[in-house]
Structures are given as structure tokens and as C-alpha cells.
């Protein structure tokens, strides 16, 4: 049994028939072929699969595709606009906030959610906001600097 869903991903409308149990992350990766969103744990701890759903960070391994029916999704592929990197992407690059890159898309989108709520976070607030995203490579040191870089840049732009 398949059910129809309509999901807008990075501004593009997709209509597909899916199994009700299909996870949003598999919908994004395998049905739409957008492989920037990663699966690290499939039990909602690691945060590699974070996307924005109607502007808020969700772990897409814990959302069914059918729950995203009618929603606006932003994945890492949709963050840069007109070839211009988002300040968070820029920050991760400038500050060496990534090594293997696997956690990076989820980390960036979780940080995006934080900066929407709190445009001027302290280091402690950044660390707290990212506790649902594991990184095994960086020790988080440069991730904190990357988010701070983006926060400053976004404040200047605003």
C-alpha cells in the first residue's frame, strides 16, 4: 500500500507515492537522490540526518515521509543561495569545522536552527544547542568557532 505525498524540498515541489513507513531521510536520499543528508545511527542520537522542516531542525530518521506531506524541507543542498555559501557553510570552511564531513550537513542545519532562535549565542549556548549532533573528528572546538563566525557575519548582514 502506498500513499501520495507532496513535499517541497529546497524550493522544488515533489509528488511521490510512498510506503507509510518510509522514513523522511530515506525519502530524501533514495527517492529524491539528495544524498547530502546522512544516516549515522537510525535511532535519533547522532544528528547526521538533521534537515529543516518548516524552518525548524528535525532528525529526518525520526520523521516519516508522510508526516512531511505539505511541508517545506531544506537540506544542506538548499542552503547556499545563488552560488553564495550561507555564512554557516562559510564558517565551517574558514574555521576548519569539519574533517571527514559526515556529520557536517546535520551540524550546519542544527546550528542554523540555533541562530534563528538566538542570533548571539555564547560558546556554552552553542555547545548546548549542538549536543544532539555527534562529531567524532573535531572535538567540537572548531565547530564552536564556526558557529560563532556565522553568528557574527549574520549580525553584520542584518
Amino acid at each position: 500500500m502506498k500513499v501520495p505525498v507532496t513535499v517541497t524540498v529546497n524550493g522544488q515541489v515533489y509528488q511521490r507515492e510512498v510506503e507509510p513507513r518510509l522514513l523522511l531521510v530515506h525519502f530524501i536520499r533514495e527517492v529524491l537522490g539528495l544524498t547530502g543528508t546522512h544516516v549515522g545511527c537510525d535511532t535519533s542520537q547522532c544528528g547526521a540526518c538533521v534537515v529543516l522542516m518548516d524552518g525548524k531542525a528535525v532528525k529526518s530518521c525520526t520523521v516519516f515521509a508522510v508526516q512531511a506531506d505539505g511541508a517545506q524541507i531544506t537540506t544542506i543542498e538548499g542552503l547556499a543561495r545563488n552560488g553564495q555559501l550561507h555564512p554557516l557553510q562559510e564558517g565551517f570552511w574558514e574555521m576548519h569545522g569539519l574533517q571527514c564531513g559526515f556529520c557536517t550537513p546535520g551540524m550546519i542545519l542544527a546550528a542554523y536552527d540555533l541562530l534563528q532562535r538566538n542570533p548571539n549565542p555564547t560558546d556554552e549556548e552553542i555547545r548546548h544547542a549542538l549536543e544532539g549532533n555527534y562529531c567524532r573528528c573535531t572535538g567540537y572546538h572548531n565547530i564552536v568557532r564556526a558557529v560563532r563566525y556565522a553568528a557574527e557575519k549574520l549580525r553584520v548582514q542584518a
Binding site: 510506503e19 513507513r21 518510509l22 530515506h26 536520499r29 533514495e30 537522490g33 539528495l34 544524498t35 547530502g36 543528508t37 546522512h38 544516516v39 549515522g40 545511527c41 537510525d42 535511532t43 542520537q45 547522532c46 547526521a48 537540506t75 544542506i76 543542498e77 542552503l79 547556499a80 555559501l85 557553510q89 565551517f92 570552511w93 574558514e94 576548519h96 569539519l98 574533517q99 571527514c100 564531513g101 559526515f102 556529520c103 557536517t104 550537513p105 550546519i108 560558546d123 556554552e124 552553542i126 555547545r127 548546548h128 549542538l130 549536543e131 549532533n133 555527534y134 562529531c135 567524532r136 573528528c137 573535531t138 572535538g139 567540537y140 572546538h141 572548531n142 565547530i143 564552536v144
Partner: protein, 784 residues
């Protein structure tokens, strides 16, 4: 040569693809007709397989095939090999899927191939396996007790090997005449690597050409190809191409040849379709090779002046149920040989018993033997300093190998090439403001606050070499590295390196070396790795070998390129070869810099070969295989400052200072990032992580809910500094930096916590130092 890139903190060239979601990891790949594999795994730690019923699974819609271990063995598949052999060691077979018995939770008993991921998982539940459960043992010491259940018939006492290094009699004698001795019993707990990208493998067979392609999360694709082809599957080596694309972290766990890639490579031919498997995190927990798991008794002896006389170490190393690819090397040659640390120790004796248990195999995990050694040495140094009433920094300083004694021959085989241990210690003490900190500690204690300062003065041996030596120690491989440098007619350069990057930034750091040496813009350099179809046989990346061994191989090839280019340039300039200077990408006759040929002009002529030196072959490329003369020996001092809350037992890291010496640094941004990540894993072991098996050898900590990886809010920001003592024997003067943090941090943090707990008279608590353990220790100490 004008240095333009070497030493510059360039941001990484690989990052644009990762920050925009355009990386390519194995699970991102798809092929027409792709089908998926799901593994049926044993829920028992030890059981006889009485029967496996495939029927229900085969009837499930969408299922293509179900295979068992017997199917594989019947078709000629052999045991997974072990790549390091010790004298007298027991080597029981390790088939990709269990044939008669299962020996650890998570061992594969069958594979289901189905049209999609979900169907494969559904049908795996329908495979009925009849087990006869047998008694199991998880703990290394218990496995050695008489009557313990045997893991293999080949080793009824569960002993895989007994190994020793050093002089036993001389060491016993040193202890007999010692002024003071101390003894500690240490558990170096089992860790689970948890790279954030789960392991994955996808294989395709082309019956028309009889060729296989395997995409796999590997730190060393050529090693994968050799072992799979020649030892396990019987595929001619040139008919198997192994590609390891972007890999999401390894930390050792992606070195080894595992059952899963073996199964998909075999199964793709059986089903005539490409097959993919990607681990779920729970599978990672039970099937990725684990790390550490030592039980150790260690003793240190000193004379009246507090100078060390000798060290004695006895270790039980839990190897798990089977020997993983390099398992025997880790608790022996990468452990016992490091026990001299930074110190002048006249005599050392170490014996190690390698033990089979009903647990997931144990192998190299970041640091691999060296963190275990450093933990032993640095705990002993602290316990002895406290016993003598000496400052831990000064006790270490007094026993350092002085800078004028290099090269220094330790009593445990290694010859350290260089070092300035006091330099790193002094710098770390200065950064942390040690004297003030001790005063502050005193004052805070009066207020009932307990901060602690912990040291770790570590030595690392990395870039393990030379091949002849490792071969004599049991390695079944050479430990050199390859590099092919191909200059194209336009002067653009492609470098094929046998090293593999899974986060280390080779595409940037190696390109920095190439651009400097050839005097060309870094944009003109491309670094290719991870494909046996294009890269010369390479040994891959582990043991912090990429820069010292892989980087040096590139330098050798660049030298050959420059030599040949100089011949061509001399011809074009109508000058004698020895009069031609190469500088900033230009060849010119000595003293006449205005008349020159650019590197690009020379490259073009190498391919035109019109106006060309007689007898010289056209083309401009060179390959090299670099076999190092020795290990490299990074060292440093790390200091942790912690605050222990006596009411809750919670540890907060207030400061963490790392002063490392990895020789010349190619890219400080990347090098510091490596140190940060290493420290995080070391702190993880000290405070948070640990595999927990119950008495039936069930893994209780088999999810990220139950196994505590360090999170952003568990860690501080780090204060990083370095000293520079170049490696004297490789062309770049570099050492490894990838494991230093992990090697150093664990001991620094534990020593800091024990320092904080000194007023309670607490001498040692085994890791991880969870609030509960500390709280209990304080309560018991207060009651006593």
C-alpha cells in the same frame, strides 16, 4: 626554494563538497539493478547452530536470495586472514559467516538479499536459526581461569599467545635493590570506535569481463583487495577493483577486512545484481572491531634520588572471539615497545597474554597500543610522585631522557631518533601558569572545592617501519607507501597517493607539498586516492603514517620529476644540466634568470618530444615507493585541569593544554584539528566511554543511548601549542599528528581527577570516571 604553501594554515580544498552536501560516501552510491543485503546476526554470545531455515524468508515478496556460512564455504570461500603473526600463536579460522558455532553477539549467520533495504530487513527477521546456547565468557581475566568456556577448540585455555619484551632477570634485580616501588592495577576498558559514518560496502560483478568492483569504507583499499582476492575469495587480484571514496571517519575501525564486504563481493556474482550493505548503528556496535581492553599490573622502582630503576608490566589483552586483521600487533609491538615513555628506564620487562573471549574482535583503535602504554607509564609516574611526595612535573623532568642522548636506545627495542621533552614540558607549564594554579588549588581546597592538575608526557611511535624490521616482528605486509606523480602536457599535475584520507585533509596538505616543490599554483594540483584502478599499490592510512610515509613518497617522485625536467630544460636552454637552476617554477642558467623555461613549457616539450634530449624517453611522470628508515617519534606534554564536585562526583574540565612536537607542520590548521579530535577521544575514554558486557557476554552498551560518546557540551575548548623538533630521517622532517591527542589525553585527565581527589586519600579509580564511580569512591573514603 621559496616556501609558499608548506607551513601555511590554508583552509581545506576538500571542504566545498562537504559543506554543500556533495560528498560521495559509499551509501550515497547507486547502480542500475541494485539490491540490498541485510545480515542475520547471532543474538547469542556462544551457541551451536543446529539448523538454519531459509524458507519463510525466501517466500517473502521482494527477496532474491538467502545465503548461509555453509553456502559460502561450500563454494570455496576461505577464512579471513590475520595480517600479523606471533610465534606460537593460535590462529583459528574466521569465516565471513558462522558455519557451525557462533562466538560473539552479532556474528553473521546468514544474509538476505532483497530488492530494497526495508524488504531485506523484514526478511532477515524471517530467517529461522535453531541455536543450542553454550556458556560464554566476556572478561579477559575470567577467560583464563580453569574451566572457563573455550572459545575455540584450537585454544582450550583461551590463550592465543604469550608474548614478552625486555629483560626479566635484570628487571627483577632492579626491583630487589630499589629504594621504593609502587604497583598499580589498571583496567584499560574496551572502547567502541563509532566513526559517524557506518561501515558500508557495495559490489558489482561483470560476467562479460569476469571483473568485480567493490566500493567499501576502507582506510586501505589495496590491502582490502589483496586480502579479499588472494586469501578469501580466490579472485585474481587484477580482476578486483576496490574503491574507497569519501569515508566518514575511520579511527582504525575501517582498516580491517570484515565479513560484510566479503559477503557482498561474493553474493553479487551469485545473484547477478549489484549488492549493497550499510551498517545500522547497532550493527556497528557489535561488528566494528573494538579497541583497548587490557587488564594490567604495573610496577615502578626508583632509587633514593627518585631516579627510575626499572618497570615491570603484566597485561591480559582481550582479543575478542576472532583475530581481526592486525589484532596481534596492537597489544605487543605497538604497546610493550612504548613502555619507556619519555624516560630513562634502565630495564623494563613486559609480558602480555592475548586471550580469546566471546566478544567482538578487538584491533587497532586510534592510538592502538600506544594509548594503553602511555596510560600505564603516566599513571605509574603520578602514583610514584605522590608516593615520594614530589611534584609530578618535577618527578617527570628528573627522569626525562636528556636532549643530548639521542638517538636513544630504549630497553624495549625502539631507538628514538630525536626529542626535547623538557622543552615541551616547560612550554606547557608556562601556558597553564603552573605555580599560580597550584596555589589556587590550595586555596580552593580550603573552600571545599577540588580542582586537580594532571600531566601526560607522552611519546608516540608512528609511521611504523621499515618493512624489513616489521616483517621480522610478524607483519605480513610491508609498511612503505607509494606515490605516482603525473605531469600533464599543460603542466597540471595529478598525484596518485597510496595513503587514504577519511578526514585528514590530504587533498590540501599533499597539494601544498607538490605546489611548493614544482613552483606551481596549488590549483594546478589534484590529489587522487582510494581507487585500486588508478593508484599504485599503497598501504593506506593508519598509525599516523600519511604525512611521514605517504608525504615522503610524494617527495621522492617529485625529485624524479624535477631531475628529468631539468634535463629537458637544459636541452631547451642549450646549457649543461648542472648549470640549470630550478626556482619558483622556472628553469634558468645559473646567473641568467631572465632567460628561462617555465615548468609548463618543459612539461609540454616532454610530451611533444620534438626538440628533445637524445636518448631521453618522452613523458613526465614518476612513481616511488618510500620505505622509511625508522618510526617517527612525536612527543609532548598535555595538562588537564579539572574540577570535581564531591557531592555529585561530576568532573568538569576547566582547561586543557596540549604542547605537541610533530616536527615540521605542513598545515597548522589541519594539524591542530587532528590534535583536537584526538584529545576528544582521549577524554571520551577517561570520562565517558566504555563497552559493557554482562555475564552472558551480551553487549549492554550497544547503542548511542547506552554508550556515551563525547558531546559538544562535555568538552572544553583546547589550548594548543607546539615545539618543533624535525624528524631527522624523512625528507619533509615531519612526524605523525593524528593520534597524539588520544595517546596523551586519557592519562592527563585521569591524573587530574586523581590529583583532585588526593585530599580524600583516593589513589586510583578505573575508567571511565563517571560521576557514580567518583561519588562512591568519595563516600567510601569518607566512611573509612
Amino acid at each position: 626554494m621559496a616556501t609558499r604553501y608548506f607551513g601555511v594554515a590554508m583552509k581545506r580544498r576538500e571542504d566545498p563538497r562537504f559543506i554543500t552536501g556533495r560528498g560521495t560516501y559509499v551509501d550515497d552510491l547507486a547502480l542500475p539493478g541494485l539490491v540490498y543485503a541485510a545480515m542475520v546476526r547471532s543474538p547469542h554470545a556462544h551457541a551451536r547452530i543446529k539448523a538454519i531455515h531459509k524458507e519463510k524468508a525466501l517466500q517473502h515478496p521482494g527477496v532474491i536470495a538467502v545465503f548461509t556460512g555453509k553456502d559460502m564455504v561450500d563454494s570455496g570461500v576461505k577464512s579471513l586472514p590475520c595480517g600479523w603473526l606471533l610465534p606460537g600463536m593460535k590462529l583459528p579460522p574466521h569465516y565471513p559467516m558462522a558455519v557451525d558455532k557462533v562466538r560473539h553477539v552479532g556474528e553473521i549467520v546468514a544474509v538476505v538479499i532483497a530488492q530494497d533495504r526495508y524488504t531485506a530487513e523484514d526478511a532477515a527477521e524471517l530467517v529461522e536459526v535453531e541455536y543450542e546456547p553454550l556458556p560464554a565468557v566476556a572478561d579477559g581475566a575470567k577467560a583464563l581461569q580453569p574451566g572457563a568456556p573455550a572459545v575455540h577448540d584450537e585454544a582450550p585455555d583461551n590463550v592465543c599467545f604469550r608474548w614478552s619484551i625486555g629483560d626479566r632477570e635484570k628487571t627483577d634485580e632492579a626491583f630487589r635493590r630499589a629504594h621504593r616501588t609502587v604497583k598499580v592495577e589498571l583496567v584499560n576498558q574496551r572502547l567502541i570506535p563509532n566513526a559517524i559514518e557506518p561501515r558500508a560496502a557495495m559490489a558489482q560483478y561483470n560476467p562479460a569481463t569476469d571483473e568485480y568492483t567493490l566500493w567499501v569504507t576502507s582506510q586501505n583499499p589495496h590491502v582490502h583487495r589483496l586480502l579479499l582476492a588472494a586469501f578469501v575469495l580466490g579472485i585474481p587480484e587484477h580482476k578486483l577493483r576496490v574503491i574507497s571514496p569519501d569515508v566518514g571517519g575511520g579511527f582504525g575501525s575501517k582498516i580491517f577486512v570484515y565479513p560484510e564486504e566479503t559477503i557482498v563481493t561474493w553474493a553479487t556474482k551469485q545473484v547477478g545484481r549489484p549488492v549493497k550493505w550499510t551498517a545500522r548503528r547497532r550493527e556497528s556496535f557489535v561488528s566494528d572491531a573494538h579497541g583497548r581492553d587490557h587488564i594490567t599490573e604495573a610496577e615502578l622502582a626508583v632509587d633514593e634520588k627518585g631516579k627510575i630503576l626499572g618497570m615491570r608490566v603484566k597485561t591480559i589483552a582481550n582479543l575478542g572471539a576472532y583475530l581481526s586483521t592486525f589484532a596481534p600487533a596492537i597489544p605487543t609491538y605497538l604497546y610493550g615497545t612504548l613502555l619507556s615513555g619519555q624516560y630513562e628506564i634502565p630495564t623494563i620487562y613486559c609480558e602480555v597474554t592475548g586471550v580469546f573471549t566471546h566478544t567482538t574482535p578487538v584491533d587497532a583503535y586510534r592510538g592502538a597500543g600506544r594509548p594503553e602504554a602511555t596510560y600505564v607509564v603516566e599513571r605509574l609516574m603520578d602514583v610514584m610522585a605522590r608516593e615520594l611526595g614530589e611534584d609530578p612535573a618535577e618527578f617527570r623532568r628528573k627522569n626525562f631522557i636528556p636532549p643530548d642522548k639521542f638517538p636513544y636506545q630504549t630497553p624495549v627495542a625502539l631507538q628514538y631518533d630525536s626529542g626535547n621533552y623538557e622543552g615541551a614540558l616547560n612550554k606547557a607549564l608556562e601556558v597553564i601558569r603552573y605555580k599560580e594554579l597550584r596555589q589556587q588549588q590550595e586555596e580552593l581546597r580550603k573552600q571545599g572545592r577540588y580542582i586537580g592538575i594532571g600531566f601526560s608526557c607522552y611519546i608516540e611511535a608512528c609511521g611504523i617501519a621499515p618493512s624489513q624490521v616489521v616483517g621480522s616482528l610478524g607483519a605480513q605486509a610491508g609498511l612503505w607507501e607509494s606515490a605516482l606523480v603525473r605531469v600533464h602536457p599543460t603542466g597540471k599535475v595529478t598525484v596518485y597517493t597510496g595513503s587514504h584520507t577519511h578526514g585528514q585533509g590530504h587533498e590540501t596538505a599533499f597539494a601544498q607539498i607538490v605546489a611548493d616543490e614544482l613552483g606551481i599554483p596549488i590549483e594546478d594540483v589534484e590529489i587522487i586516492h582510494g581507487d585500486t584502478g588508478s593508484v599504485p599499490f599503497g598501504m593506506g592510512t593508519y598509525g599516523s603514517r600519511s604525512a611521514p610515509v605517504g608525504g615522503s613518497a610524494i617527495v621522492l617522485s617529485l625529485q624524479k620529476i624535477k631531475e628529468k625536467a631539468r634535463k629537458i630544460a637544459a636541452h631547451l636552454l642549450e646549457a649543461a644540466e648542472e648549470d640549470v637552476v630550478f626556482e619558483d617554477g622556472k628553469f634558468y642558467v645559473k646567473g641568467v634568470p631572465d632567460r628561462f623555461k617555465t615548468f609548463q613549457e618543459v612539461a609540454l616539450q616532454a610530451y611533444l618530444a620534438h626538440n628533445y634530449p637524445p636518448g631521453l624517453e618522452p613523458g613526465l611522470e614518476a612513481s616511488s615507493f618510500y620505505d622509511p628508515k625508522n618510526f617517527t617519534f612525536p612527543f609532548g606534554t598535555h595538562i588537564a585541569v579539572v574540577d570535581v564536585d564531591p557531592e555529585t562526583g561530576k568532573v568538569k574540565i576547566l582547561r586543557y593544554v596540549a604542547v605537541d612536537d610533530a616536527g615540521r607542520i605542513i598545515n597548522p590548521l589541519i594539524a591542530e584539528g587532528q590534535v583536537h579530535g584526538g584529545i576528544a577521544q582521549g577524554i571520551g575514554q577517561a570520562l565517558l566511554e566504555g563497552a559493557v558486557y554482562d555475564e552472558n557476554a551480551q553487549l549492554l552498551s550497544a547503542s548511542l543511548l547506552d554508550y556515551a560518546l563525547p558531546r559538544a557540551d562535555d568538552l572544553p575548548s583546547f589550548e594548543i601549542d607546539h615545539t618543533v623538533t624535525p624528524c631527522p630521517h624523512n625528507p619533509l622532517g615531519v612526524k605523525g599528528i593524528g593520534e597524539t591527542g588520544t595517546i596523551a589525553a586519557t592519562a592527563a585527565v585521569v591524573n587530574a581527577v586523581m590529583d583532585a581527589l588526593t585530599p580524600f586519600g583516593i589513589r586510583h579509580i578505573d575508567m571511565p570516571l563517571t560521576p557514580e564511580k567518583i561519588w562512591r569512591a568519595i563516600r567510601e573514603a569518607r566512611a573509612a
